[in-house]
Amino acid sequence: MDLSEQQTMAPSYAADMDDESGYMGPSARCVLFTLEDEVYGIHVKKIREVLRVGTIRHVAGTPSNVMGVINVRGVIVTVLDTRLMYDMPAKEITDYSRIIIVELDEEQTVGLMVDFVMEVKDIPENKFEALSTTKEDASRYIQGIAHFQDNVIILIDVDNMFSAFSLA
């Protein structure tokens, strides 16, 4: 797995470990990114790589949340506008935008367009809590939230998010 890119993007990683040195229990390593000022996390084992936004080839006749396809070393990968999937307004692609390539299974991957990739962090599992009350439909994509270092991190359940689509 090509995680080198994320590593370099997380210079504060070591410092964070110091903050949490008191905690020795199990933790989940997540890639943190932002969408519309909220912090989201996806477990690293689900992520193949993070790419800068290159040319996205639009495909006519696709659902609106499909931005198009990109060429990842010879493999054609669908890119989804994550903002639209969470009912947020669309936003221009900026220099900070990144495409997170998520593994659905052995063979299939999908790209998620996000506003900004922050860092890779170990989040102690005792910080997680299940999402209590929300609209049923929206929470399907969300595994839980973690209050961690003044941030509320929304953890995305990638498997659930795509179980509906990967059939298509």
């Binding site: 639009h58 696709t62 493999v75 054609i76």
Partner: protein, 653 residues
């Protein structure tokens, strides 16, 4: 039941069934060829071995009897005559059906019980061609476990159970397996039986399992010695140690050397072959595809950069090597077309019998190689065409004689390579087709008006039979004539980027030719574009390209049409769908033909031909109609490959 073992068994059994199919067909020609008889015998035996291990009772019953019959035949006790062939072929069908059903996910318990009549007939053959009805010493209760027909001179009251006997037979066959000397006749085998003490400590199932396990292992040729070592204690009826669970020792088919049936082939060539999982071949194929793309990029760069001679040479070198590599990899996926042709002697024979016709089938160019996927994809259309030839093409013997032909009809199935295409043809010397009748029929069915019909040349008239719902048979038979079929054949061939052509002379015969590309992995396309976006259109469907000229178009009933040599062809503006709002300039019209229809696609720019590797579109896009996939072009950008039937239906609905 361990799923892996079952899968391994099914892979092997499916191959064996294919081989048996070919061998049985060959046997029609040379019914006394000892190598062939041995090969068939081993084929049945090996399937039975695996089936026994997995307790697929229905399969064991049939294989076992078929094996017995061939044991007799190869020893010269019974002749492989028409009667025997009939029964054996029916037995083979049963086996083939069972394997198919299991490949489709049926478990051993779900399989239907065997027809006791067939089992009796098989037993009848072993008993020396006696009439089927004669009662056998051992009655067949189908539901019971594997049974064995005892020879007449065997005392059915012997102490041994059937299973033990069965096991002994297995053991004997294995001990002599691979040996050039034929296994001793059943009688000799039976003398062994007398020595066996049925009170041995081992249960039948254990015994059976042990033997089968050994059978599997000896398939690798490693355990011949051990077989010999184990034999004496068996006959001395000492308790045999409980076998280890066999699964681990069962060979994985993806990497093992050729199976025993192949080993039985007379030549030594088989020894140098390796079985490779097709998935791995696909991977290599993909990587080569990548390399082709890189090469294409280099070629583009070279033309762009121009000058450096060294670079130019290096790229030219790369070009050559890549092309060679691509060809050799392609060859590894090639299979002789014999794989498909092998089933036809059978198909024709059965059909001719049923219809009371006399038909000789001639196979030509069986050794022609083509892509494995194609071999599989062509099987169904070919079967359909051959059935058509036999059913509609060839006349009844008396009609043939009346027409001054010999009473035997001939169907020739031929394959040959023609550049990067394969040409398959089915030729019959039957009654041919009458183009005028076809024209009339088309008018009757309301497919076109009389004027249009009369304008069709003969070739176009023959193409009519490939329209949906068009049947020439006056009556519908269970063989053909429902008017579904030819259109299905046509669409299957189109899907393979192939074309189908019909020539016919009334009273003299019909020839159907199918042209398909050698491989499915690489597709010759025409690159077109709208502004920056590239699209690839499969070249096989393209008939011609000309400049768009608004003077030559008409709007008829809301549909734009273009006049082309006194015919109007519907015109679809691809930009309406692919680049809405885009202002077109320098339009070109590409005339494509899909099935029976022609259409003009208006595109902005034509960029020339390119061979592309088809890649699947990503998740969520596979069901979007109009695309066959995507590819990466010489300059590294993505081009979408259009699926023309999908594109047309997009415009038509």
């Amino acid at each position: 039941m361990d799923d892996d073992i079952l899968q391994d068994f099914l892979v092997e059994a499916t191959e064996l069934v294919d081989q048996l199919n070919e061998q049985l067909a060959d046997l029609q020609q040379s019914p006394e060829d000892p190598d062939l008889l041995n090969a068939v015998f081993r084929g049945f035996h090996t399937i039975k071995g695996g089936a026994g291990f997995l307790s697929i009772t229905a399969l064991i019953q049939v294989c076992h009897r078929a094996e017995n019959v061939f044991d007799k035949i190869r020893n010269g006790d019974v002749a492989y005559d028409a009667v025997a062939a009939d029964v054996i072929l029916r037995a083979f069908d049963v086996i083939s059906d069972i394997i198919d059903a299991m490949n489709g996910g049926a478990t051993a318990e779900e399989l239907p019980e065997n027809d006791p009549g067939l089992l009796n007939e098989l037993d009848g053959l072993t008993a020396g061609n006696k009439p089927v009805s004669s009662p056998q010493p051992v009655a067949n209760s189908v539901a019971s476990k594997t049974q064995l027909t005892l020879d007449e001179d065997v005392d059915p009251d012997g102490d041994m159970t059937d299973d033990e006997f069965e096991a002994l037979l297995n053991q004997r066959d294995m001990a002599s397996g691979g040996d050039e000397e034929k296994a001793e006749s059943v009688k000799t085998g039976l003398s062994l039986e007398a020595d066996v003490d049925p009170d041995g400590d081992m249960t039948d199932d254990e015994f059976e399992a042990l033997l089968n396990q050994r059978d599997l292992m000896s398939a690798d040729g490693e355990l011949e010695d051990e077989v010999a070592a184990i034999s004496p204690p068996l006959s001395a009826s000492n308790p045999v140690p409980k076998p280890q669970p066999a699964p681990k020792s069962a060979p994985k088919p993806s990497v093992v050397t050729t199976p025993p049936a192949a080993k039985a082939a007379p030549k030594n060539i088989a020894e140098s072959s390796v079985r490779v999982d097709t998935k791995r071949l696909d991977e290599i194929m993909n990587l080569v595809g990548e390399l082709v793309l890189v090469r294409n990029r280099m070629l583009t760069l070279r033309t762009a950069q121009g000058e450096s001679e060294d670079l130019s040479n290096a790229v030219a070198n790369l070009d050559h090597v890549t092309t060679d590599l691509q060809n050799s990899v392609m060859k590894t996926r090639m299979q002789p077309v014999k794989k498909v042709f092998g089933r036809f002697p059978r198909v024709v024979r059965d059909l001719a019998r049923k219809l009371g016709k006399e038909i000789d089938l001639e196979l030509q160019g069986e050794e022609t190689d083509l892509d494995k996927n194609l071999v599989e994809a062509l099987a169904d259309p070919l079967v359909h065409l051959v059935r058509n030839s036999v059913d509609h093409g060839i006349e009844m013997p008396e009609d043939r004689l009346a027409a001054g032909k010999s009473s035997n009809g001939t169907v020739i199935l031929a394959a040959e390579q023609e550049g990067d295409h394969i040409l398959l043809s089915i030729t019959d010397d039957g009654k041919g087709m009458d183009p005028d009748l076809l024209r009339r029929k088309a008018v009757e069915k309301g497919m076109m008006d009389e004027l249009t019909a009369n304008q069709l040349d003969d070739k176009a008239a023959f193409q009519l039979i490939m329209g949906a719902g068009f049947s020439m048979a006056a009556e519908v038979s269970d063989i053909s004539g429902r008017g579904v079929g030819m259109d299905v054949v046509k669409s299957m061939i189109t899907k393979l980027n192939g074309s189908i052509d019909i020539e016919s002379v009334l009273g003299e015969g019909t020839r159907m030719s199918i042209r398909v590309p050698l491989t499915l992995a690489i597709l010759p396309t025409l690159m077109v574009s709208f502004a920056e976006d590239n699209y690839a259109i499969p070249l096989t469907s393209i008939q011609e390209i000309f400049d768009y000229d608004s003077d030559k178009t008409n709007k008829i009933d809301g549909q734009m049409m273009v006049r082309l040599r006194d015919k109007s062809v519907p015109l679809y503006f691809l930009s309406d769908w692919l680049a809405p709002g885009h202002v077109n300039e320098n339009d070109k019209v590409i005339i494509v033909s899909i099935g029976n229809q022609r259409a003009g696609l208006v595109v902005e720019q034509v960029n020339g031909q390119e061979e592309v590797v088809i890649k699947p579109l990503g998740v969520m896009l596979k069901k979007v109609s109009g695309y066959a996939g995507a590819t990466i072009t010489g300059n590294g950008s993505i081009a979408l490959i259009l699926d023309l039937p999908g594109v047309l239906s997009r415009f038509q609905h």
